[in-house]
């Protein structure tokens, strides 16, 4: 069975995110005075074969811990959905 996983990697809340700070400054400069915080992360899409959804989830979690994120500075969340015949996941891509 083919699955599509989306892994969202974000800088930990305790870690300074220089890119997010710069974009926040730009948004404030543009007049979006209500902006309080901006953080920039990564969205990683993995297509994979796995015998079951739970097996796919276990593998994706392992990948996220091992290489896709660095636990010293980042945290992650992920979602796994079966792929339909058009090659897309059967639902939204956000975890």
């Amino acid at each position: 069975m083919r699955y599509v996983a989306t892994v969202k990697v974000m800088p930990k809340k305790t870690v300074l995110d220089p890119q997010g700070s710069a974009v926040k400054g730009a948004l404030l400069d543009l007049g979006y005075g209500g902006v309080k915080d901006v953080r920039i992360g990564k969205n990683i899409r993995v297509e994979m074969e796995a015998p079951s959804k739970s097996a796919a989830r276990a593998l994706v979690e392992e990948m996220a811990r091992k290489i896709l994120s660095n636990p010293v500075i980042e945290e992650f969340e992920f979602a796994v959905i079966p792929m339909d015949s058009s090659g897309e996941g059967a639902g939204g891509i956000a975890p």
């Binding site: 870690v15 300074l16 710069a22 290489i67 896709l68 010293v72 500075i73």
Partner: protein, 236 residues
Amino acid sequence: MKFGIVVFPGSNCDQDCYYAIRDILGCDVDYIWHTVTDLRGFDCIILPGGFSYGDYLRTGAIARFSPVMKAVKDFADGGGLVLGICNGFQILLEAGFLPGAMLRNKGLRFLCKYVHLRVENNKNPFTCLFEEHEVIRMPIAHFDGNYYADSRTIEALEARGGVVFRYSDEKGGIAPETNPNGSVGNIAAVINEAGNVLGMMPHPERCVEELLGGEDGRRLFESIVSWFSGRRGVGS
């Protein structure tokens, strides 16, 4: 003694290290391709600067899984000397040889300039020819050199003397103004607990003769040779 310089796809300071060791130090040195898994015959392994695997995902994140890194781990566990410079330091962090991680520079700029460093620890193979608290000059060249670890990790690192260089002014003063990239505690170089693995953001290979603007980097390489010959003398 014999040096080995690991070459990853995207390393670009490997030839500068080779020149420093062969032409300036007059030591035996060889390149080591990243697929090599046998490091017998080497006494010091250098992970050079550059952009291994294009810095994709995170700096050093993909290089740390190269076949050679398993061999480097065994080499270090056996007491072999490992020096990670710039991207090499980032790889050592990703691989867990050293604590912490690198964030993007606080000012969001690629920094390429000479900086002053204060020697915090000279009781190790890499800085034994420097004086304690001596101020030296070396170039930095990085986008992700903002060293970070949580406060408990930093406390433990400081308590055991694991900080080897700190960004300072020309008199050795340590302040936010002398911190080019936002690193916690102005930390520029970190050594492991066993004292045989050093990671540093500054480039010693870029300052090995006056023609290059300075010679403090040469003294770092000479420290390694001096320490190694001393140890061999004691052992034999």
